[in-house]
Amino acid sequence: MSDTRTADPVQSTTASAAASPAWRRLVTLRNGLLLVALVLLLIAPLFVEEFWLRSGFAAMGAIIGAIGLNLLVGTTGQLSLAHAFFLAVGALTYVYVSGEPGGGVTAYGGLGLPPIIGMILGVLLAGVAGLLFSPVAARLRGIYLGVASLGLVFIGQHVLNTWTSVTGGFNGRGTPNFSLFGFEFSGENPDLYVLNVPFDAAERLWYLGLVLAVAAYVFAKNLLRSRPGRALQTLRDSEVAASVMGVDVQRYKARVFLVSSMYAGLAGVLYALSIGSVAPESFALDLSVLYLAMIVLGGLGSVGGAAVGAVFVTALPLAFQEYAGSLPLVSEPGQGGVSAGQAARMLFGLAIILIVMFEPAGLAGIAQRFRRRRGMPDEPSVPPEGSSPLTTPAQGSTT
């Protein structure tokens, strides 16, 4: 990744000659840090507790979803609150295709196909749902799209509650275990020991999540550097300019919706695996808002930012829960004070406001500022200052 950057003649000429050795050293330092982080993530199951491994798996699902939403909102500038809906499509397809029929009060069906087929179909169907919505999306601009996508979440909730033969209705249904060619990821078959550490469901899911999240990250990075990626960024900055440059506005909007909802579909499958069951209330508007919080905190338009934001938003309530006793203002559940979940939500709200007011490029912007001070080149996917979606002047004004 950074090899290509070093080889990029434009960027090496922009960095001043004097600073060049310094940032060269830092780039390798950065590479080293990334490598260390990856190795740490790879060996984490050997010494990290099961609880944090499971949380990590949830966070990796969130990373995939957040990267997808960021492609749509951050890179292309299309506000969408429908992410929860696309997650639901992915999750439900997976549980229906790979699950067995069952259910007590409300009977539901299932195809019982291998889980990998369920996962692939989940991703594809979420993409199809995105494509179906894109005629609406491509015609609407800015804020109209935001509200129309809000509608999808509520319609999705209704469908989830009504279509009981697939969804299990109000109480939902369990998630089938994931396995690949007889190797169970959320089970213990076959037995596996690595360095005397038993590799059970939590450890196996951790690796599944890690592989998928890294793949999603690399794909998005490459997409942003490619021709379509540049087209999407032009689309955000000015639709008129984009169409003058030969970008087919409608087609690209439809495509980014497709890609973003496929990401959401995969995130939905992982979400279902991590919470173990799928119920309508798991996919309410709250979830969309949380995803929006992730990408705003991480930095709109930045793939790495979305990942960091996703980890932060997923981990904060858990950390609050874990250390509720020692935090001021936060109390144990049932004592009348602010519960851990509520405290986390309030903090997200506050963080969104502060980020919008003071650092519109989010955590990625802070990191970029740090890099600039060290004379390092900019992250290619992070829009340069002044063209971030949060600082461009109003385009969708209808005056």
Partner: protein
């Protein structure tokens, strides 16, 4: 036929409440180019304040203070947050109001807990019969009050100097500012009106046939969003029409639930969104919204 008329009347009264909220959205959008995602929690805040104060000071003072307090919250948000970010992208400001909404809603949900507070309207939930058509007193008053407030608003919009200033700055902000119109003041007043209208709507929305002040009211208030979008976000008249369409459609779908059973129980709750998406497919900027023109 009687069922139909009853549903129609109830739909209109529900629509009147939606119209009040939608008018708030529209006024705020016209004056400050902000799509306020926090109207739902403002409404809940208003209803909650009225319900809490009602116990200690009686209905009328509680009502006045509740509406004023909600308006004050609106003003505070405008002065502290919106005013500083004038000229930023619409989407940015919308995201920020979502942030405010999260905080307000979480705090109110925590305070309400699992209780259902009662506002203690002096009018009860009795049915009034008008020529064989029944409606609860609460909804009847809602209609009347909404009619009065909406006419007062339109009169002010047309004749008062604030109304002129607002129309001018919505038409062309820069020119209006050059002519000496204080856009900050216009926007502040708009937020006061928007928040106040939400509080009044909240007062009626939590009355019968709804059980009382519960966090779920927030989701009901969100259905005024389709109303505002449907009419065209920058059209005040459109907000009223949109509110009526949404209200009637919802009441009809709920009333004829048995005939619509193939769409599932509780379909009435999502009708507003279905109607909105259908209308937006045909008219992307709503029924009465200004069409977006792109000049190069």
């Amino acid at each position: 036929m009687n069922t139909f008329l009853t549903l129609l009347l109830n739909g209109i009264s529900l629509g009147a409440i939606y119209a009040l909220i939608a008018l708030g959205f529209t006024v705020i959008f016209k004056a400050s180019e902000v799509v306020s995602f926090m109207q739902g929690s403002l409404l809940l805040f208003g209803a909650y304040t009225i319900a809490r104060l009602n116990a200690s000071m009686g209905f009328l003072p509680a009502l006045v203070i509740g509406v004023l307090a909600t308006a004050a919250v609106g003003l505070l948000v405008e002065r502290l947050l919106i005013d500083r970010l004038r000229g930023t992208a619409v989407i940015t400001l919308a995201i920020m109001t979502i942030g405010v909404d999260i905080i307000l809603l979480t705090e109110l949900t925590r305070r309400i807990g699992s209780d259902i507070l009662n506002v203690g309207h002096p009018w009860g939930g009795e049915f009034v019969q008008i020529g064989g058509v029944g409606i609860t007193q609460n909804r009847l008053y809602a209609m009347l009050v909404a009619a009065v407030l909406v006419s007062a608003f339109f009169a002010a919009f047309k004749f008062s100097s604030w109304g002129v200033a607002m129309r001018a700055s919505a038409e062309d902000g820069e020119t209006a500012a050059l002519m000496g119109i204080k856009r900050g003041r216009v926007s502040a007043v708009a937020w006061i009106i928007g928040a106040g209208l939400a509080a009044v709507a909240g007062l009626f929305l939590v009355g019968s046939p709804t059980p009382g002040v519960a966090p779920g009211v927030h989701a009901v208030a969100l259905r005024a969003f389709p109303a505002a979008i449907l009419g065209g976000l920058d059209s005040t008249g459109g907000a009223i029409v949109g509110g009526m369409i949404i209200g009637i459609a919802e009441a009809m779908a709920a009333g004829y639930q048995d005939q619509l059973l193939f769409l599932g129980r509780g379909f009435g709750d999502v009708v507003p969104y279905v109607v909105m998406i259908l209308v937006l497919l045909v008219r992307p900027s709503g029924l009465f919204g200004t069409k977006e023109l792109t000049r190069v």
